[in-house]
Symmetry: C2
Subunit: 338 residues, 2 copies
């Protein structure tokens, strides 16, 4: 029975989230029942959607219950198994949460998946070849439906989703433009992630100003937009959407901390005959195999070379998560647990 | 050469549109060239989209040029023809504009179409069996894609588009709820147009209050919404959309007169995984035959019994148009020209 350190949600944020919303708890892993597997986590994934779960109000998912282990994707290895399909040493991906070990009912569909680490590093199954990669794939392929030669824009461009979006968009013959916070991130986007251009939103005081920068970076207008942030960035890009443009809405992180942010010009949906569609990738499990295959190939062939920002130890998870919300990470934010 | 009275746009509105934006002009119809047809208009259609055209700024169409005859749909009869497919007495529908006669290049695709008035009154080709009817059809069938048993909502419920929407939605086994201004319109919606319920938005001071009325009228939430007005009504309905709801955006008339109206809760697009799509029916000519066939059948079988509000004489068009914008009409607003 190994000792298991866990992070639970202690209290809900009022305004901005902070490390004080979380609490460390130390337990022991329980003995396995028939059909269960004990997984030792190597990496915990930190993702923006977790901020939405911290709030009380109904979002698309139930709020994270207080006093329970924070939800989260994990990769690791099987250390003990009472399930015929898993054996000690298997590399697995699952939703183990913010803790060092998890006990998984392995018969539950989608609960635990074996992965191959020959060509893809284990941690990538939480990023480029995992939920964030499939998120980019779904928004691009199923909502934006790009044609070669079109111009695509993605916000939070250097994050796990944005990085994958760039590689997937370039593979389809599109011009791909990122929006990110800071010159360093923008340089990284162009030099390492393959973006054709990247706009630093930080010097822009308002949507009007940012919109001019979008115009400069997208001389033929914007055909497809992948929205990770909302607020001023959404307003700015909407002003540059071409007729019949498509907007995949994946995140509205700008509005998580307080009052809901309005959309300045909804009449553009009509004027430019836009399609805007929100989605959650976990509701579209049918596309995962196809998407993961393409993403793994992009990684194996060096066309998708994502970076990771790695915090060490479960105790560092709260601070690392707040850093992610503030954009301090470059690429996929992980916590290394071994 | 008959005398032809025309209404031209004289100056652009500052804030609200008014009859003083228009000017009457009297001319003579020119002699016909080969391939042309002279049409005497029986009815002129007045439609909300015309308000958008009066503004200077680029909308989805070029602005209406100053000093030229206002654009508009017309039905009438051929009085003289130099085109082999048309002869005097033919009933026709076209875009003749705000005038008593028009000279039409009948070879131009879509410029002039012969219609059958055996089962459908001529004026209906400007409403239920015309552009407004096809508009309702496109938004419902191609964007909302309703399933039997779902709940649909339409704003400006008693107008030409809303009336057709109700009949089309009921034909698909849906619960159809209208939103309109005033108790009289709501009574008409339920008693004559077949709406299951109709909400009078006028007593509601804000979106929150209106949203409660939407909840009462739609106990199972809203699956499909057809938006004709924007502003507070859109905000109110969005709060009641079910997961995976669809919003067809056809009009944003609430914002035509001044500052753009924001959307209060765009994050709902993500939270409820909504699809919002703007459209202009003239860009989808491929659906017109199928749509018109269904609409004509609904009229012929008494399942769609639209009302008309009819002003007399071309001189009354500006005042009638302002009345339409203020919601003074019941059903399709027409101007009778003979």
């Amino acid at each position: 029975m190994p000792q298991n350190k866990q992070i639970v949600l202690d209290n809900r944020p009022v305004g901005e989230a902070s490390p004080a919303n979380f609490r460390l708890r130390v337990t022991e892993t329980p003995p396995l029942q028939e059909g269960q597997v004990l997984v030792r986590h190597h990496y915990l994934s930190l993702d923006p959607y977790m901020r939405g779960r911290m709030n009380e109000g109904k979002s698309y998912a139930e709020p994270q219950p207080l006093g329970e282990v924070m939800i989260g994707g994990t990769v690791g290895e099987v250390v003990e198994s009472r399930h015929p399909k898993f054996k000690p040493g298997d590399a697995v991906v699952g939703m183990g949460g913010w803790q060092e070990y998890s006990v998984v009912d392995a018969d539950q569909p989608g609960a635990l998946r074996k992965v191959d680490t020959t060509h893809v590093p284990l941690s990538y199954y939480l990023g480029a070849v995992g939920m964030p990669g499939v998120t980019a794939w779904y928004g691009l392929v199923k909502i934006i439906e790009p044609k070669a030669g079109e111009t695509l824009v993605v916000s939070a461009a250097t994050g796990a989703v944005g990085s994958a979006f760039a590689a997937l968009g370039k593979a389809r013959g599109c011009r791909v433009v990122g929006i990110a916070g800071g010159a360093e991130k923008c340089r990284y986007a162009v030099e390492e992630l393959g973006f054709d251009a990247c706009i630093d939103y930080k010097p822009h005081p308002d949507a009007h100003s940012l919109s001019k920068a979008v115009k400069d970076a997208c001389p033929n207008g914007v055909d497809g937009y992948f929205e990770n942030v909302g607020g001023m960035v959404l307003d700015a890009v909407m002003l540059r959407m071409n007729a019949h443009g498509r907007i995949a809405v994946c995140g509205m992180i700008a509005g998580y901390d307080g009052q809901p942010l309005p959309m300045a010009h909804p009449a553009l949906i009509l004027v430019s005959r836009l399609k805007m569609q929100g989605f959650i990738v976990s509701e579209h499990m049918e596309v995962w195999p196809e998407a993961l295959t393409e993403l793994a190939t992009l990684v194996a062939t060096g066309k998708l070379r994502p970076r990771e920002t790695i915090a060490q130890g479960i105790e560092s998870a709260p601070e690392a998560f707040i850093g992610l919300l503030k954009g301090r990470n470059l690429g996929k934010q992980l916590v290394k647990l071994i």
